[in-house]
């Protein structure tokens, strides 16, 4: 399996504040890679840089061998980078169906309808509520919609930003089961989570981010049993 996403020496600033201080991360095809870290470590910033909605001040992002560091956001979606953003960010007043259809905005053809059906099979509740405004869904349902919308872009890599944030424990479990199912179906996933234990438990590899730098990287299992990680993130 080749490297799909390769981030090297990436830096990014908010004004004069440096949010990312030279990040090196790779994601290989078919892998589930988790990025864990505390609030404000720069996790969301990194995902936004990958999607092209946050300016990069140095370093590079390569996708499938091509340098995409300066590519505009919509072209990256076209290449196959889809993101389910932090806080879900559904199009609240628009119907669930429109939200899904917009996920495939850059695609055309009859297979969109089939993909939509696949999403409804995966998340039956979305089918039931397909005509309702997305803003009326519960938090968990909105999260499913955000993931399904990202999947509608037929991504080659799926970026998930805090999919468990603000959800009840049962729903968190359901979301993580979905992520595992997606991985088993062959989707390449880069998962950003504060819920470090759950994320590392399902990840092939993991990175630990602290104030803008990667401080540890290993297999998911190794990180879970790492003393430092245990102490700082797992509360064990």
């Amino acid at each position: 399996m080749g490297t799909l996403l390769e981030i090297s020496g990436l830096t990014s600033h908010y004004g004069r504040i440096q949010a990312l201080k030279g990040i090196d991360v790779t994601v290989a095809e078919g892998e589930l890679v988790a990025l864990v870290g505390a609030n404000g470590a720069g996790k969301t910033t990194l995902l936004r840089c990958i999607s092209g909605v946050q300016p990069v001040s140095g370093g590079s992002v390569r996708f499938d061998g091509a340098d995409i560091t300066t590519l505009v956001a919509e072209k990256r979606v076209g290449l196959g980078i889809s993101q389910s953003p932090e806080g879900r960010q559904v199009f609240g007043p628009m119907s669930v169906e429109d939200n899904l259809r917009l996920g495939a905005y850059l695609r055309s053809g009859p297979e969109i309808q089939a993909d939509m059906q696949r999403m409804y099979d995966m998340f039956p509740i979305l089918y039931k509520k397909r005509e309702l405004p997305a803003g009326t869904l519960s938090g968990g349902q909105q999260q499913m919609l955000a993931i399904a919308r990202a999947l509608m872009g037929k991504p080659r890599v799926l970026l998930l930003d805090e999919p468990s944030m603000g959800l009840a424990p049962l729903l968190v479990e359901e979301i993580f089961r979905t992520i595992v199912a997606l991985k088993e179906a062959g989707t390449t996933i880069f998962l950003v989570e504060q819920n470090a234990y759950a994320a590392l438990a399902i990840a092939d590899r993991g990175y630990v981010l602290e104030t803008g730098s990667v401080v540890l990287s290993d297999t998911g299992q190794a990180l879970i049993s790492n003393e430092k990680v245990k102490e700082a993130y797992l509360g064990l």
């Binding site: 092209g52 909605v53 919509e74 960010q89 199009f91 609240g92 429109d98 917009l102 905005y105 938090g139």
Partner: protein
């Protein structure tokens, strides 16, 4: 008594339809960028002035109208490209001031390129008034209603039935998420200016046979369109339409029953009233979101 009321109502609905189109123009640009485009009135003026000038120069009217709409759209696109886009990192207030500057520039340019005279267009289908229960209705007013209705239905179709229209709506609801599904927000911004310019120019063309136009005609029409948009709730399309009709009708009734000297003041009274008592307008978003 009733005939007079009906007469005021007709004239209010006629100008209200134009305010509604201008208000929609404000709403579309506001939704795409949170900018209030104070050059919206200039699109109305350019539509009227360009079509009147072309007709006077001997161009057949249908062709003149199409050209005038295209000119106005080109001006809208140029405004976005050369005035708004270079300032995209500035804050919204700065951009709003840029649009005020652009409106002054467009008035000046029209004065120089065309002239300072009043212009008119021949009515589209004659000038024989139609009697309705004692009041008279000009055929051109029917054109105004019909064209405004067609534009509104067309817009509804565009925003609800086409992918690009939905993408524009999505951008207004959540810009970040729109970018993440691959919507080019630059394209959306450009399209919003082209569309608003088209709406304004259409209004300008159909109303010119009734009201005449000159290089300054856009100021008042634009401000009244703005009060229509504010009354309806900034960014709410349906609200802008109803707001436009209300502004038009109240203005016509006030100038009929009170004094026509107050005609232009009504729109501003409405703006003040809305800002004091219901800052969200009639149908505006209340600031509630699920967190």
């Amino acid at each position: 008594m009733f005939a007079a009321f009906l007469q005021y109502l007709f004239s209010g609905l006629t100008s209200g339809a134009i305010y509604a189109l201008a208000g929609l123009g404000f709403a579309i640009i506001y939704n795409a960028s949170h900018v209030i485009n104070f050059a919206q009135g200039e699109f109305i003026m350019i539509g009227g002035m360009a079509s009147a000038t072309l007709v006077a120069a001997g161009v057949p009217m249908p062709l003149a109208i199409v050209l005038a709409l295209l000119i106005s759209m080109a001006v809208g696109v140029a405004l976005e490209k050369f005035a708004i886009e270079p300032a995209r990192n500035a804050d919204v207030v700065t951009i709003i001031i840029i649009t005020i500057g652009a409106s002054i520039f467009l008035r000046g340019a029209t004065q120089i390129i065309l002239d300072k005279e009043f212009h008119s267009l021949p009515a589209f289908s004659g000038e024989t008034p139609i009697g309705v229960m004692g009041a008279t209705l000009m055929p051109q007013s029917l054109w105004v209603f019909a064209v405004a209705a067609v534009m509104i239905v067309g817009l509804w179709w565009f925003f609800n039935r086409t992918m690009f229209g939905k993408a524009m709506l999505a951008t207004s609801h959540n810009r970040l998420a729109a970018q993440l599904v691959g919507v080019g927000v630059k394209k959306v911004l450009l399209a919003s200016f082209a569309l608003s310019a088209l709406l304004g120019a259409v209004g300008g063309v159909v109303v010119t046979p009734i009201t005449f136009t000159n290089y300054e005609a856009g100021i008042m029409l634009g401000l009244k369109g703005f009060s229509a948009a504010v009354l309806g709730g900034l960014g709410n399309g349906g609200g802008a339409i109803i707001g436009g009709l209300i502004v038009g009708i109240v203005e016509a009734l006030a100038s009929g029953y009170l004094s026509s000297a107050y005609k232009d003041a009504i729109a501003f009274v409405i703006i003040l009233f809305v800002l004091f008592f219901m800052p969200n307008g009639l149908f505006g978003k209340r600031g509630t979101d699920r967190v």
